[in-house]
Subunit: 220 residues, 2 copies
DNA sequence: GGGTTTCCACCTAGGTGATAAATT
DNA sequence: AATTTATCACCTAGGTGGAAACCC
């Protein structure tokens, strides 16, 4: 279900903005890829969003899930530098709802601060027990953000509201098409690799300026 | 006020255990010192405690504060390797209540997990705006742990219950005398320095085995 | 001189893509 | 042949005490 939904009139007034849209756009133009590993890999770029129109004293939970865009499997044609459809999708793993670790938020907090899903991790391990989001490699996905407005009597487990299915709550879903990506176990498009290296601080060690050739090393 | 207090019969049944008492005892025997800096320094050892006798479905907040043990100022006599009273205490900074960042906890969580105050930081900067605990150097202090039972209608600011004064709440205070220490800007007792180096993983670089003498370096 | 601050080398902890080996 | 896994060097981020400089 890619279409944004909302089952609560008060949430119709809420707006969600993708804070780092420019960066996502640059990846999207090339065809974003996200690495998935057995132990879980962070997404880069991170989904960072801000909310307006929320009620000051209400309490909210922000969640992310990632759903298949189509029922296709893809492969990368190196000689053509493009993605091709390789067949029908594998059986999808059950979609996991990832609750933002700082949730719940008051409306006041949501108005001030950016909600960053930097800790979200992606895995290809269907047996994963760490709560990471399980995806199939070589399949195309769409992240979604859900904002749930908590009822005052909401049942808590410590800080963590028990949200099993957003359908049962007052919620609204936001979808940013520029955050679509293909899950991979190794990067396919070299331009994506380069953009990741140039924009992710943790990959700084692979940037051109910091990688000396043997000759450069010798000349020092 | 060093004496443990409790204003709530249900909390009388609660017990609090200092999980790393053995380590604290080793420091206490030598006279624990804690570094304070302008930007804030973690405590080592950390106060790690577990609670039993809490109600499964109730919600609790754990807090720490650090209060003066006496109205004295101390100095360290190197030639005697001991602490001496150096006069009357300086004017104390207002005691700051440090709420555990993971609070609130359900009783269920408290029964299972250890509450670790590892992120608590100490500072000598009276103007500190980071929420660190402000202490006077060369003064003796006693950390205290407060367990507050939240009323169901408790007013929240996001995850963070607004606790201005434990006196207004249902609370119980726990005091472990072995966690007393003298605040310092530089270690005085060399035995304390050695025990810190040997027991704090972050100080591993100063352990004997990893510190080579010039001779050892030469012989490699 | 006693106490404090600053800067540093050396750690812990964990996020990167490259690479080669393993798998299918 | 295509894809996945394990390991690695190289980062970010930040917690240590040492040592010298700096106060007062």
């Amino acid at each position: 279900m890619l279409k944004p939904k909302c089952n609560c009139p008060e949430l119709e007034r809420v707006d969600c903005r993708l804070e780092n849209k420019e960066l996502w756009d640059r990846f999207h133009e090339l065809g974003t890829e996200m690495i998935i590993t057995k132990t879980g890999r962070r997404m880069f770029p991170t989904v960072r969003c801000s909310f307006s129109g929320v009620e000051l004293d209400a309490r909210y939970v922000a969640l992310m899930d990632i759903v298949p865009v189509d029922v296709k499997r893809y492969r990368y044609a190196y000689h053509r530098s493009s993605w091709l459809v390789a067949g029908k999708a594998d059986a999808p793993a059950p979609v996991r709802l990832y609750m933002h670790p700082d949730a719940p938020f008051t409306g006041e907090q949501l108005r001030k601060q950016v909600v960053s899903f930097e800790k979200t991790k992606l895995t290809n391990n269907e047996m994963d027990k760490s709560g990471h989001i399980v995806l199939n490699s070589m399949h195309k996905y769409q992240p979604r953000i859900h904002l749930v407005k908590l009822r005052p009597d909401y049942h808590y487990n410590g800080n963590t509201p028990v949200i099993n299915n957003v359908e049962y709550q007052q919620f609204r879903t936001f979808v940013f098409p520029e955050t679509q990506f293909i899950a991979v176990t190794a990067y396919q498009n070299q331009l994506i690799t380069k953009l990741k290296i140039d924009s992710n601080p943790f990959a700084k060690g692979f940037r051109d300026s910091s990688r000396l050739t043997d000759l450069e090393r010798y000349e020092m």
